[in-house]
């Protein structure tokens, strides 16, 4: 139990995916204009990463290892993830139209969110078992959601500020992200 807690806190706060491992930067910079969309993007990512780390681990230990095909992990994982995202998209389209429209083009983009593939590969590299993989997936995606929601909150405020002309747009967002990364260094002492 203690190990699982350490994995979860470690991946959510100490080694935050976005701010210290630089995974999932495209949605982090692209969908962080409004808190509401950021939060629903975060929810979709939590959903996909949790299921993806479960299935990726199952496929790796159940199919690839017995057949000695470990070297195919990259190809297999990306296919598992792409299929899962497609499934989530179909599911949302049928049962939650408003969320489906809110997420718009970003839902299929989760496939190319490197955080999803990154978590699956990290789970294998750290030889986590099924439960540890899922916990690591949840921790990582919660960390992503925390970062993107904070970012969106700050960006909503930034819009009312007077920013030097050449810093407008991407640069000021990057500076904000840098400051957030420094703040997240504070968590390093937890474990």
């Amino acid at each position: 139990m203690k190990e699982l807690l350490i994995i979860a806190i470690g991946s959510a706060l100490v080694n935050n995916v976005v701010l210290s491992q630089f995974l999932g930067l495209c949605p982090f910079l692209g969908v962080s204009r409004r808190v509401k969309t950021a939060a629903s993007m975060g929810a979709a990512v939590i959903f996909v990463i949790t299921i993806a780390s479960f299935f990726a681990n199952l496929v790796y230990n159940g199919i690839l290892v017995p057949l000695h095909l470990e070297y195919l992990e990259t190809i297999v994982f990306i296919l598992v993830i792409a299929a899962l995202v497609q499934f989530v998209e179909m599911f949302l389209k049928k049962f939650s139209r408003s969320l489906y429209h809110a997420l718009g083009v970003y839902l299929p983009l989760i496939t190319t969110n490197c955080a999803v593939l990154g978590v699956a590969i990290l789970n294998v590299q750290n030889s986590y078992n099924l439960l540890e993989s899922v916990v690591n997936g949840i921790g990582t995606s919660v960390g992503f959601t925390i970062a993107i929601v904070i970012m969106a909150g700050i960006r909503e405020r930034i819009e009312y500020n007077d920013i030097p002309e050449s810093l407008q747009g991407t640069p000021i967002v990057l500076v904000t992200a840098g400051l957030m990364a420094i703040a997240f260094f504070g968590f390093a002492g937890i474990i």
């Binding site: 910079l29 593939l117 590969i121 810093l167 640069p171 840098g178 420094i182």
Partner: protein
Amino acid sequence: MNRYTKQIVNGIVTENPTFVLMLGMCPTLATTTSAINGMGMGLTTTAVLVFSNLIISALRNVIPDKVRVPSYIVIVASLVTVVQFLLEGFVPSLNESLGLYIPLIVVNCIILGRAEAFASKNPVLLSACDGIGMGLGFTVGLTLLGAFREILGAGQIFGKTVTPKSFEPATIFILAPGAFFVLAGLVAIQNKVRLSKKNKEAQKA
């Protein structure tokens, strides 16, 4: 300048993936702790990009439209696996420092983006040139970013000390926040140049 060289120049300058299109941000920020790492990542991506453009362009009339994206992903993933093994065998030190980010080349938006936007519509040779141009543009961007971070954070460039002794390197530039700050600075400089150009033109008119 014929259309092949034009396509290469387009990738390096006009549509530079790092500074103009802002694609492939994850490896851009994660692997540029030093100039040599940035360059290694850039060249690895270039190799994958050239071959994926080549293969996808050659197969563009064979792949059915409906399943094109999954097919592209499988092609790219296979190429990345090959490249990963080559690096592991021949340049183990680079393989170690890039680590997780090599398999993640699969989800680099530049590669799928070029496959979808260019290679699926253009002849083989031109697509390969586009791959070379885009790849080199990415390499230039990453090397520059890595060089800035290495100078500011360690006082070195390509592992050689270049700054005077009185210069105190700020380690933060090699750590995560520094990546954001340096990229923000570079984009801001580029904005500044573009704005002053625009103002000059406005004054003339």
